[in-house]
Symmetry: C2
Subunit: 155 residues, 2 copies
DNA sequence: TATTGTTATACTCTATAACTATA
DNA sequence: TATAGTTATAGAGTATAACAATA
């Protein structure tokens, strides 16, 4: 019979050689889970989360995105962007500026305080990123970023 | 002043050249979001989700994991594994077998029906994976998997 | 008629603590 | 005393639909 008669547990290590551990979807999910956990910890001391950090980053980088553009780029629902921008605005980190070319749209711009906080938060996330990248050989890190960019921005 | 006076929206395209788009955490999150959405669609026709698919995969691969080992490997809380195994067991896809070496532990084993469903679901996820990998040059795909494995399993 | 931002709501996911049975 | 599995629950995250203002 195919369901093993005596089912004895094995160690977690052996799971790493399973077919699932070669699955791209699974590897992406696990790598992302590890990175997310580390980023959450690093950003918490600045009162940010990965989501709000991303919005603040684009605002502080003078990208001048509308809320809709933020939603599309960050793959979030527009209504979620509302909540994130609300909170950042309440804390004086970003402002909603009317888009002169479309009065329906708000362009999200960082304040001085927002830029200062972002600069500090960025230091924390860069430390996390270095720790994450430590798992791959130095000469491969550039390539990893390039390959991930192709995955993340394929259309 | 640093907050741009006339805030005019730009296209989403320009966000791709922003500093955020070079952030490893962000790239992982976005690539994972894309892969997850595709996997969700592909697995839905089999009544599975990425989580339950992963548990079924390990059970069908005769890895003989305990629930605790599943929790650790999949980075989920043990109580979440309970719910997933409950559902798979109710559908006759897996069984809980007592671990002879530790009567507290359950080893999760796939039934014949579970193996059959997994084989079908795996075909769907492999198609998703091929579509995802199409974004990177063929000669780089092996390396991408290897690098992601290092990220996902660094300790 | 379509789109931007907004509000409201329901649903899923996640995190936590407490309990039981075994070790 | 510690661990595997379970249960319950609250909080965070996500998805959806409907609405007002503007295009």
């Amino acid at each position: 019979m195919s369901t093993a008669g005596k089912a004895q547990a094995i160690g977690v290590d052996r799971m790493r050689t399973s077919a699932l551990a070669r699955d791209l979807n699974f590897l992406l999910a696990r790598a992302n889970a590890l990175a997310l956990a580390a980023a959450n910890t690093a950003l918490a001391e600045h009162g940010l989360k990965p989501r709000s950090y991303s919005v603040l980053a684009l605002a502080a980088d003078d990208v001048l995105p509308t809320q809709r553009e933020l939603a599309e780029f960050l793959r979030l629902d527009p209504s979620q962007i509302v909540a994130i921008v609300d909170e950042l605005e309440k804390r004086g980190l970003v402002e909603r500026h009317p888009d002169p070319s479309d009065r329906r749209a708000n362009v999200v711009v960082a304040t001085e305080a927002g830029r200062a906080l972002f600069a500090r938060a960025q230091k924390s996330t860069r430390a996390v990123e270095r720790a994450l990248k430590a798992a791959v050989p130095p000469e491969e890190r550039e390539r990893l970023g390039e390959l991930l960019r192709q995955l993340a921005f394929r259309e």
